[in-house]
């Protein structure tokens, strides 16, 4: 029996077209749907709608009752001829994440059916091998759960008083942290804008890294201002080191330099500040920021572990990148001298000889801890022990 839809007195200014559209979707192209209605002037808008949708319509009157014979046209199907299939939601499903994302998929959700002819979007990072990590979704979930509110997570009101010179040292270290976190924000942010949205789990990880760094910059700045100070100094050597991170165009190499070597080293620094900072606010800040940085390192390690397994030649490129960066920075001073001294003072907590000696010893311990950490991560990525030791030593003196 021929399908029939009765739109009763529903008008085309009240969504009647949708009832007809749904009924037509249930019949094949070329089949006929009978439409009836009781509203005033229902046939006129129906004819207009059919014309616009590419369906033929004929009106017949029998026994004083008007009905329309709507023949389903092929126009709506034509739109989907040559459409792109774009994978699937669950990245664990075979074929869900393509090896290469097509520029013509544009901004569509992964798995959507995309009409042919979308203007191509020039996302430079469109190869899975260049950006992916299987653990990205899990790391993103962990990052979401680990977000903290700087107003409530840190006790900004806690009472403490530091000697001026120690407070100045804390301010200098925080000044240095802001500068470094600016690099840690800008690097993933730049890649984020170049990443094809097909790799949405990686997109999400980078987006939260950016948010993490924005929060760190905020709390470091608030610590600078806590006792009415302005930021301390910023040097050519420090900034030259950070600029070399921003100049790296390859995602995997940038992850290696920033996350595995730089942020990994920063985790050591933050743990040091958590242990030795002279006031509770700085210690709290350092503890929370270290947690976030640990996740950034984890993504970099996961990504590189996977990339190195699939592309053994990448190891040579990573070695070259470390060496090139070392050569490039060999003429610069590296760590700001003010920062180095501030770390000693901060760990000393006072200016007498014994305290400074103790602070100095702690900073020496920090530097050794940083080098050991880098070496361990490099070994985990499959670098031979000698190479790992050598590369760890070539890392910038600016830490990040």
């Amino acid at each position: 029996m021929q399908p029939i839809i009765d739109i009763e007195d529903q008008g085309f200014d009240a969504g009647a077209h949708l009832r007809i559209k749904l009924a037509l979707a249930a019949i094949p192209v070329g089949a006929v749907l009978t439409v009836r209605g009781t509203g005033q002037d229902w046939s006129g808008p129906l004819a207009g709608w059919c014309r616009q949708q590419g369906h033929a319509v004929a009106f017949v009157e029998a026994a004083g009752i008007l009905s329309a014979q709507v023949t389903r046209g092929a126009i709506q199907q034509g739109r989907w001829r040559g459409a792109h299939a774009t994978g699937a939601i669950d990245p664990r499903q075979p074929g869900a994440v393509h090896a290469e994302a097509d520029p013509a998929w544009g901004l569509a959700a992964r798995g959507a059916t995309v009409e042919a002819g979308v203007p191509p979007f020039s996302f430079r990072l469109n190869r899975k091998a260049a950006v992916w990590a299987d653990t990205a979704a899990a790391l993103y979930a962990e990052a979401v759960a680990g977000q903290w509110n700087a107003d409530s997570a840190i006790d900004w009101q806690v009472e403490f008083t530091l000697p001026d010179v120690i407070e100045d040292a804390v301010v200098q270290v925080m000044t240095y942290m802001v500068e470094n976190e600016n690099a840690a924000l800008v690097v993933p942010a730049r890649f984020l804008g170049q990443l094809h949205p097909h790799f949405r789990e990686v997109q999400a990880v980078l987006a939260l890294q950016v948010a993490d760094e924005a929060r760190h910059i905020d709390v470091f700045t608030r610590r600078i201002a806590l006792r009415g100070r302005q930021p301390g100094t910023s040097t050519v050597g420090g900034q030259a080191s950070l600029k070399s991170l921003l100049d790296e165009p390859e995602f995997s190499v940038a992850q290696f330099l920033l996350a595995v070597l730089g942020e990994g080293t920063f985790v050591s620094l933050l743990n040091f500040l958590h242990a030795h900072a002279p006031d509770p606010v700085t210690r709290q800040i350092a503890r929370l920021a270290a947690r976030d940085e640990g996740r950034h390192v984890a993504f970099g390690m996961a990504h590189l572990g996977q990339q190195l397994a699939g592309d053994p030649a990448l190891q040579a490129r990573l070695v070259n990148a470390v060496e090139a960066r070392f050569d490039k920075l060999s003429g610069s001073a590296g760590l700001n001298e003010d920062v180095f001294d501030a770390l000693i003072l901060l760990a000393a907590g006072a200016t007498d000889g014994a305290a400074i000696a103790a602070g100095y010893a702690r900073v020496q311990g920090l530097l050794q801890d940083m080098a050991r950490g880098r070496e361990a991560r490099l070994a985990k990525l499959g670098f031979a022990p000698e190479a790992a030791k050598r590369l760890a030593a070539l890392h910038t003196r600016n830490f990040m």
Binding site: G11, D41, G44, G48, R51, Q52, G54, G117
Partner: protein, 285 residues
């Protein structure tokens, strides 16, 4: 004009440039040497069809009527070679507020009725004619309020119809004319809330734009042009955006059977004379 087929089109909106640049590229890739000239209004475009400036024109129905009258007066011929599927069998509707309870057109005697631009076939000329046929003459039997946007564009800019629909909902007028597709569009936009309005009258069916060939235009490139148009497929993703911009699914051979209502309106409302001269005194373009 060398061997280039030159078409005129009216720049009623910025998208017109996109549309015809797209067509030009597409035609060029298929061996048709094609170019276009944009006019600010249909009057100047129709006049150019008789000065040798353009071989054909993408004309409004009113421009077609004028071109046909000028040609006939001069012993020449123009022809309509192609039109959009969406140009055929259109109608205009007279929309009123449901709450006002008008039973028929007679109820609008002495009331304010909204129209579109002075030169709009669908929102002014055919509607004026429809009411005249029902015994209602503007200025005598009702007050006509015109929502004039962009004179000379022959109502291609739908702003006038939207303004009229808004004025209807604001209570500034008692009825508003619009093309049937816009009634649906204004409902979708929420300009006409569901159930708040109804259609009191519907005009007869009429046709809209066509490609009008100028007198003496070379036959071969025109034939090539038409063959390419009719070969454009909605299924082709390279063509579909152009068709969507121009508002069609498929090109159809031109026909002139759908302009009778407008012909009568042009005469009765004294818009053009039988030789295509402009009579409407307050027409600015």
């Amino acid at each position: 004009m060398s061997n280039t087929l030159v078409m005129g089109a009216v720049a009623y909106a910025p998208k017109v440039v996109t549309i015809w640049e797209g067509f030009k590229t597409w035609f060029g890739e298929r061996g048709l040497d094609f170019d276009f000239i944009l006019y600010a209004n249909y009057e100047r475009q129709v006049e150019a069809q008789f000065s040798g400036a353009i071989h054909l024109a993408w004309n409004s129905p009113l421009a077609w009527v004028r071109a046909e009258r000028i040609a006939r007066a001069r012993g020449l011929t123009v022809s309509a070679v192609a039109m959009r599927d969406s140009d055929q069998d259109l109608s205009s509707v007279l929309v009123v507020r449901t709450a006002d309870g008008f039973a028929d057109l007679a109820g609008l005697a002495g009331r304010r009725i909204g129209f579109g631009a002075i030169d709009s076939p669908q929102a002014t000329l055919i509607p004026l004619d429809h009411l005249r046929q029902a015994g209602l003459v503007a200025g005598r039997d009702y007050t006509a309020r015109r929502f004039d946007v962009l004179g000379g564009k022959h109502g291609d800019h739908i702003g006038g119809e939207r303004d009229a629909a808004q004025a209807l909902m604001a209570g500034e007028i008692d009825a508003a004319w619009m093309i049937d597709g816009n009634y649906q569009a204004f409902a979708n936009e929420g300009v006409l809330p569901s159930g708040a309005t109804r259609v009191l009258a519907r005009s007869g069916l009429y046709d809209h734009c066509n490609f009008t060939v100028s007198p003496g235009a070379p036959a071969a490139p025109i034939a090539h042009f038409c063959a390419l148009l009719f070969g454009m497929s909605w299924d082709d993703p390279a063509v579909r955006p152009l068709l969507e911009l121009e508002g069609l699914r498929a090109w159809r051979p031109g026909r002139t059977s759908g302009y009778a209502l407008l012909e009568r309106a042009v005469d009765d409302e004294a818009f053009y004379d039988s030789e295509g001269k402009i009579l409407a005194a307050d027409y600015r373009y």
